[in-house]
């Protein structure tokens, strides 16, 4: 934990340069009243994740509406960092997001931001409990565009289109792209719920990208003589077994 004397380290993410400028001006004003230090800024979510992996900051001010990756998705990825920063959302006008924040009692700042509000929010972060991933997911009906993988202190973003399948194995969920496998620290159930449009459950432990299914084949187990259906994938030479309960998929896909 920070002791009270050490300056609060702050990072700004906003796609509009004047908006970042405004926050910098305000932080300069705030620094007269509380010790703080601006450690960096970014114009989009990818840049922010890049600059923030491996660096520890106390607070990230995140604009909600940004191209490519919105603020809520960025917050979810930042949550994967070993020591996740406190996040304060900023928005000029976003009826939907504001309703969601009010509902979940999440702190946000309306732009133009007033110095008093900013000071309050920064002070609160000292004692704040980090937001939970599930809570952030409830903020938006939109699925993420990427899945964040935490590896050796760095965050890798895997675009959701590159995911062939997700398979639960003992403790972790394995995510398979054409190149390699990754370990995901999320449950299969939550992933299925969020990405229902893209994936289909073929087995108790497996979700497959619908677009990647190229066909089905019947496989006979040589030892037991039992036969079962399996999915053939477009870009991988692998077969994934379909459980008895999910066999209707074969018919549905025709």
């Amino acid at each position: 934990m920070n002791d009270v004397e050490s300056p609060l380290t702050i990072f700004i993410v906003d796609d509009e340069p004047p908006a970042r400028n405004r926050i910098k001006d305000l932080l300069a004003d705030c620094s007269e009243q509380m010790p703080l230090q601006l450690v960096g800024e970014a114009g989009n979510g990818y840049e922010a994740l890049d600059k923030l992996s491996g660096v520890q900051v106390d607070v990230v001010l995140v604009d909600i509406r940004m191209p490519q990756m919105d603020g809520i998705e960025l917050a979810r990825h930042l949550n994967k960092l070993p020591t996740p920063p406190a996040i304060i959302f900023t928005t000029a006008y976003d009826v939907y997001a504001i309703q969601a924040f009010e509902l979940h009692a999440i702190d946000y700042l309306l732009k133009p931001i007033r110095i008093g509000r900013l000071l309050d929010a920064l002070t609160r972060t000292r004692s704040a409990v980090p937001l939970r991933g599930e809570k952030l997911q409830e903020l938006t009906p939109e699925p993420r565009k990427n899945i964040a993988i935490h590896e050796r202190g760095k965050i890798h973003l895997i675009p959701i289109e590159q995911v062939m399948y997700l398979r639960a194995e003992l403790k972790y969920v394995t995510l398979r792209t054409v190149e390699r496998e990754y370990l995901v620290e999320e449950t299969l159930g939550a992933l299925e719920k969020e990405f229902a449009i893209r994936f289909i459950r073929i087995h108790r432990n497996c979700l497959v990208a619908k677009d990647e299914i190229v066909g089905f084949e019947k496989i006979v187990d040589e030892k037991s003589g039992d036969s079962y259906w399996a999915v053939n994938l477009k870009k991988l030479n692998e077969t994934l077994p379909i459980s008895r309960r999910q066999q209707f998929i074969v018919k549905e896909f025709g």
Partner: protein
């Protein structure tokens, strides 16, 4: 001022329809013939009889209708200067006179058999003016339907013209540069004031395309302040007649849409192309912007766009058109309206 009526959206001004508008003429022809067809059907005794009756009625009706419409076409500039009440009286009187004239003249040329007695003359004169009256009621009703007259609708229209997203982001952007570049902040605030003055203007008198372009440029300057290099604009105005008139705030909401849906969700920079040109008696406006298949803003500004559509329909009827082309990676709006020239004000009005 021919063709330049005030279409006040807030307080309804009653005005005669523009008798030189193709839409008005077409609607009149269709409605009157429709009424005649109904009468023919009502009187007919067999299917063939409908046609016969229709032809019989048309012999008197079509000349009256066409003559009336041509006279109204000619009298239009003069009619526009009258009050609504006087104008209505003139139109009804004209319909009555023309009906009587054609009826009696036709009788002389033995096109119709004039049955002696004042009843037929009186009946035709009465029917002529009643039909003209019904048409006027229809046109007035149409204006009412197309004008958002109720307070709620007016408020909606106002909100649609000024997107809160734009308002708060712009104020924030100005605050962001006010310390570093006070001069630029001043210009930005002046641009905002002009934009909001226009958006809140009470009347909807036509403005010149020159004014509309100036306003659009001010708007784009504000967006460029926020978005910087991400927003690139191409203007194609070589064939634009400076003096063409159009309803206010037609171009700016289109650009706001282009920036909001086309540029803001874009990762890299993007172009908004604006083409303004005249083609014979038509004035064309085209706005082109990139479009993202996914991940764009979902909540559209349908209100502002339907507002433009309604105002164009109200002002120009069928002579204006509004087309949208949605491509895989682009979005294009094409507006066509009649080329109406600004009438230079006589010097004693200046």
């Amino acid at each position: 001022m021919p063709n330049v009526q005030s279409i006040n959206q807030n307080t309804l001004s009653d005005a005669l329809p523009d008798f030189r508008n193709w839409g008005v003429m077409l609607r009149s022809l269709l409605l009157v013939n429709g009424m005649v067809l109904l009468v023919a059907i009502a009187q007919a005794t067999s299917w063939q009889d409908i046609v016969a009756r229709m032809l019989g009625l048309s012999a008197l009706l079509q000349p009256v209708l066409l003559l009336n419409l041509s006279l109204l076409f000619m009298l239009n500039p003069w009619l526009e200067r009258l009050t609504y009440k006087k104008g209505t009286a003139v139109v009804l009187l004209l319909a009555m006179t023309v009906t009587l004239m054609v009826y009696h003249l036709g009788g002389k040329l033995s096109l119709y058999t004039i049955v002696h007695g004042n009843f037929y003359s009186g009946r035709n004169a009465l029917l002529g003016s009643v039909i003209a009256g019904l048409l006027l009621v229809y046109f007035r009703f149409r204006v009412r339907v197309l004008s958002p007259a109720v307070d709620a609708a007016r408020l909606q229209a106002l909100q649609a013209r000024i997107r809160p997203h734009f308002l708060f982001n712009s104020i924030n952007a100005v605050l962001g540069i006010v310390r570093a570049d006070p001069k630029r902040a001043e210009t930005a605030l002046e641009d905002m004031a002009d934009l909001f003055r226009m958006a809140m203007a009470q009347d909807d008198d036509l403005v010149t395309v020159r004014q509309e372009v100036a306003l659009a440029r001010q708007y784009l300057a504000l967006e460029q302040l926020r978005l910087g290099e991400r927003l690139k604009v191409n203007w194609y105005t070589e064939n634009m007649p400076d003096d063409a008139l159009l309803p206010p705030l037609v171009l700016q909401p289109l650009l706001e849409n282009a920036v909001y849906h086309g540029i803001e969700p874009l990762a890299k920079d993007g172009f908004v192309d604006i083409k303004l040109y005249r083609n014979g008696n038509e004035m064309h406006l085209e706005v082109y912007n990139p479009r993202q298949e996914q991940g764009g803003h979902h909540v559209g500004n349908k209100m502002a766009l339907s507002n433009i559509r309604e105002r164009l329909a109200l002002q120009f009827d069928v002579e204006a058109s509004y087309k949208v082309e949605i491509g895989k990676d682009f979005y294009r709006v094409h507006i066509k309206l009649p080329y109406v020239q600004e009438i230079p004000k006589p010097f004693f009005f200046a």
